[in-house]
């Protein structure tokens, strides 16, 4: 697979590499960097401001990458404080900001020739190709790409929901999902999630499928037994109410929806002792993958859907000094 990438025509790799890098850089810029670099907070060099960037460019692009990745004493946090960003994206974001000043400096041809960094843009897009060939050509293309879009970027900074995953990136097909290897022949044979989700009821989180409703509405009928398609689950209709602290509504745990999917032995007694009051459950434990979090947050709907569990409204009790006595 490395060989295939290396023998790609120079032009192709330069073009696609630079385009993808520019996208990643712009994304990260709008999500993270723009918080300071749009307005110049804490002395950050402003996007598109040649005067801010000129002295910093003197040190070379590689040094700017290092500052962006590791942070500086002047106040730049490592990776802009977004430690989940990949190094490649951080560099692409630097490229994106540099492109803005190069485009603004009204001599678009000059920086192409002067592009200093040996491995600037292509690492973001084509990490496995060592790609010295693409390195020379890519900065030029990324500058062009950024120049074309720089007019729109001002609007993007204040766009809605900049921290959320864009709708177009939900439920991607395996080859584009980031963990499947797109050069693996088996990957292309796999089903794309959206192909299956079409008729299923929607939800706001996780797979964005309401799996419980999907069974209720008989959109799917997953087998209860590996071999026997007619075996039916033993559904227990028993609600357990857990009173919770603070103002949150009490939790109603429905056995019904759970026993549609699971066997008693899946939860009892290892995860939940089948006795009222015997289980210490906290949101912290759930977030860390214990108790309800064994499934919720991994495969069942995540904890962002508070109201699905916290569903029983508390009776209004006016604040009284004697309130504890009623417990």
């Amino acid at each position: 697979m490395k060989i295939e990438r290396v023998i790609l025509p120079v032009l192709m790799s330069a073009f696609f590499g630079a385009a993808a890098a520019a996208d990643a850089g712009k994304d990260l810029y709008t999500k993270t960097c723009a918080v300071c670099h749009a307005a110049g907070i804490a002395g950050a060099p402003r996007y598109g401001n040649v005067g801010d960037w000129q002295p910093r460019l003197a040190g070379g692009t590689a040094r700017l990458y290092a500052s962006a990745l590791k942070g500086t004493a002047k106040g730049m946090p490592a990776k802009g404080g977004n430690l989940t960003a990949s190094d490649g994206d951080v560099k692409a974001a630097v490229d994106f900001m540099l492109a803005s000043v190069k485009a603004a400096s009204a001599s678009p041809a000059k920086p192409v020739a002067a592009a200093p960094a040996p491995a600037a843009a292509p690492v973001a897009a084509a990490p496995k190709a060592a790609a010295p060939v693409a390195a020379a050509a890519a900065p030029a293309a990324s500058i062009d790409a950024a120049a074309n879009t720089s007019g729109a970027s001002a609007a993007d900074i204040n766009s809605f929901n900049r921290l959320l995953k864009p709708i177009g990136k939900r439920n991607p097909p395996p080859a584009e999902d980031g963990i499947h290897d797109p050069v693996n022949d088996g990957t292309v044979a796999l089903m794309a999630p959206l192909a299956a989700y079409g008729p299923l009821p929607k939800s706001l989180a996780g797979n964005r499928v309401n799996w419980v409703k999907a069974i209720d509405e008989k959109k799917i009928n997953p087998r209860w037994d590996r071999q026997d398609a007619n075996a039916a689950p033993v559904v227990i209709d028993l609600n357990i109410v857990r009173e919770v602290k603070g103002s949150m509504p009490d939790v109603v745990y429905p056995h019904k929806q759970h026993t549609e999917w699971l066997d008693c032995s899946n939860c009892h007694p290892a995860i939940f002792v089948p006795q009222k009051g015997a289980n210490a459950i906290s949101m912290a434990a759930i977030l860390l993958g214990e108790k309800c979090g064994v499934c919720h947050g991994k495969v069942a709907f995540p904890v962002s859907e508070c109201r699905l569990c916290h569903s029983k409204k508390k009776e209004f009790r006016p604040a009284q000094a004697t309130a504890p006595a009623t417990k």
Binding site: T84, G88, P132, D181, N207, W224, D225, R226
Partner: protein
């Protein structure tokens, strides 16, 4: 690259390495609940295996695998290997050429980018502690 000063070469190599690591592990776009299992794959020169929860829960209730077949609720916690599978345990209970396609379709499961660590993709814990996960 040969004529460049050493720090520049070093930096280029570092960049390439960082990009490989970052792009293979730090991309949270895959389907919610996809499990990557990389207990032995990388060491054996195979791509890590990916189990798509969504695909299987359309066809089977959780109980079939997690009670009948004994899969623990823990990514990478079942010590599955190919011998167990061809002997009909774990995945092999269905992936036997009768209920589902058989083990000769290596690349349908072993389809992750090399080096992808064991994980439940898009899981809450992954979003909470990405830095800790990357250190693995």
């Amino acid at each position: 690259m040969i004529g460049r000063p050493p720090w520049q070469r070093w930096f280029a190599i570092l960049l390439a390495f960082a990009a490989i690591v970052a792009f293979d592990t730090d991309d949270a776009r895959a389907e919610y609940g996809d499990v990557v299992i990389n207990n032995y794959s990388d060491a054996a020169g195979m791509r890590p295996a990916i189990f798509p929860h969504w695909f299987h829960r359309v066809r089977f209730r959780c109980k079939v695998c997690h009670a009948d077949l004994g899969f623990k609720f823990k990514a990478g916690g079942n010590e599955i290997n190919m011998v167990k599978i061809i002997d009909g345990q774990f995945c092999g209970a269905c992936h036997n050429g009768e209920l589902a396609w058989s083990v000769e379709n290596c690349n349908l499961c072993h389809s992750a980018k090399p080096g992808t660590p064991t994980q439940v993709h898009e899981s809450t814990i992954q979003k909470l502690a990405p830095a800790a996960l990357q250190k693995k």
